[in-house]
């Protein structure tokens, strides 16, 4: 119980400091579960220009730093390794990325999305105001595209949380805009992907994707 309270207090303090320093951060996934102790990581998108300020705040709050390694992973097209700040006692891990990259199907190299797509995400971010602080989340189009890409490329499956979240989002979006935005990632597979999601056939998506031939 104490750990959960400490955890919540620490997250609140950290986010308040981000706000005071005018550091904009976008929570990429599971933003509804920010204070949930079972949530493994807090996945954040930040701007690299704010890194020093972020680091100072997180270290001041007792979090230790490490970054993913270029020696172990391959980062293509200027993709940047994730930076982690953690406190094992509190069960906290801030997973900070400065771009959005997905792991390639073939050799698991990190491949970033285009600058225009990243600019769209920053330009259309939505402010979420809590009692003591605020943060940003992606708009519904960027969010659904990010979750689908994350499940297919990084996870190779759809967990229950992502199935529910994607199913919620898919009924809220305009199909034409969705197709236009997802085209640079899934190309001609976009329509089939949309149908599979609509029909809730999440179990089939990965295998269907890698065996797709209509192009």
């Amino acid at each position: 119980m104490n750990k959960k309270l400490d955890n919540k207090k620490k997250i609140t303090e950290i986010f308040k400091s981000f706000n005071q320093e005018s550091i904009d951060i976008i929570i990429l996934r599971k933003q509804e579960n920010l204070f949930d102790n079972n949530n493994d990581d807090i996945d954040i998108l930040a701007s690299y220009k704010d890194f020093k300020k972020l680091k100072k705040i997180l270290k001041k709050n007792g979090l230790l730093f490490y970054s993913d390694s270029k020696y172990i992973n391959d980062y293509l097209y200027k993709s940047i390794p994730h930076h982690h700040f953690y406190n094992k006692n509190l069960g906290l891990n801030f997973d900070i990325s400065f771009d959005i990259s997905y792991r390639s199907i073939n050799n698991q190299e990190f491949i970033p999305i285009d600058d225009e797509q990243l600019d769209y995400i920053w330009g259309n971010k939505i402010k979420i105001i809590k009692n003591d602080f605020y943060f940003f989340q992606m708009d519904k189009y960027s969010q659904i595209i990010h979750l689908i890409s994350h499940c297919i490329f990084d996870k190779k499956n759809f967990s229950d949380y992502y199935r529910n979240k994607i199913s919620e989002l898919i009924i809220e979006i305009d199909k034409t805009i969705f197709f236009e935005m997802i085209e640079p990632i899934f190309y001609k597979y976009k329509k089939r992907l949309f149908e599979l999601i609509k029909d809730q056939k999440f179990d089939n998506i990965f295998n269907d994707y890698i065996s797709y031939k209509e192009y």
């Binding site: 490490y66 073939n106 285009d114 890409s149 597979y189 890698i210």
Partner: protein, 243 residues
């Protein structure tokens, strides 16, 4: 963005010696399936983009051309497994003849890596089991999503009575070992193609294979150790000097 849904179908790179002594051809050729987008054929910095239909069309053209270029009796590229052909093609200039011969199951050797260290070894038909061949033996494949589970029922269903495996001059099965094994379960003999090469260039030298394999594995292990060391040094630096 660059398509993350990329699968390398096959790749061929020159080694350092080939790069030094043969500068007149491409350094690497790679065929990629960029899912939903196109098939890419890379020749160094030059790239051809094809639809799947176009890719099969160009493959048929290459096959037709190969059948005309390789002027050897009994050579038909349509009857040869593409994976075997890729491996054999390096020595294609030396191919002298392809004969059709009847072979007895006691005279034929099979290459299997069904041991603890996954080293290939020569085995006679009587020396290994169906499980050794179908379950334990694992062939190396470039294609990441290649289905390594070889379905016996499917092979039997498609096994033609005129099937002929490809053997080298030492009667080692070089292509069609699963089908030949199943054929030998009911027949003592089978017809086979015997591929003969000049200067025995296609001959298996098991000791040279062991030497190269051990060398490759040692280099890979060293690379892994160096990467791990660099990673640990970096972690140490971040943990104790930056925190």
């Amino acid at each position: 963005m660059s398509n993350p849904g990329v699968i390398i179908l096959d790749t061929k790179k020159k080694n350092i010696i080939q790069r030094i002594f043969n500068r007149n051809s491409f350094r690497y050729v790679q065929i990629e399936d960029n899912i939903g987008e196109a098939i890419h054929i890379h020749f160094d910095d030059f790239r051809i983009e094809l639809s799947i239909k176009e890719f099969f069309e160009i493959s048929s053209c290459f096959k037709e051309a190969l059948n005309q270029v390789v002027d050897i009796k009994n050579f038909d590229i349509n009857e040869i497994d593409p994976l075997f052909f890729k491996y054999a093609s390096i020595n294609l200039e030396d191919l002298e003849s392809i004969e059709i011969t009847t072979v007895h199951k006691n005279d034929v050797s099979f290459l299997l890596n069904n041991n603890k260290f996954n080293f290939y070894k020569l085995n006679k038909f009587k020396d290994f089991t169906e499980r050794d061949l179908f379950k334990i033996n694992k062939e190396k494949r470039t294609h990441k999503f290649y289905n390594n589970n070889i379905d016996k029922k499917n092979i039997l269903k498609n096994l033609n009575k005129d099937f002929k495996p490809i053997l080298d001059e030492d009667f080692i099965v070089r292509d069609g070992k699963h089908r030949l094994f199943l054929k030998f379960q009911t027949n003592d003999t089978s017809e086979a193609y015997i591929w003969r090469f000049k200067n025995k260039s296609f001959k298996i030298n098991i000791f040279a294979y062991y030497f190269v394999e051990i060398l490759n594995r040692t280099i890979n292990k060293l690379k892994y150790i160096i990467k791990k060391f660099l990673q640990k040094t970096k972690n140490f630096y971040e943990k104790f000097l930056q925190n």
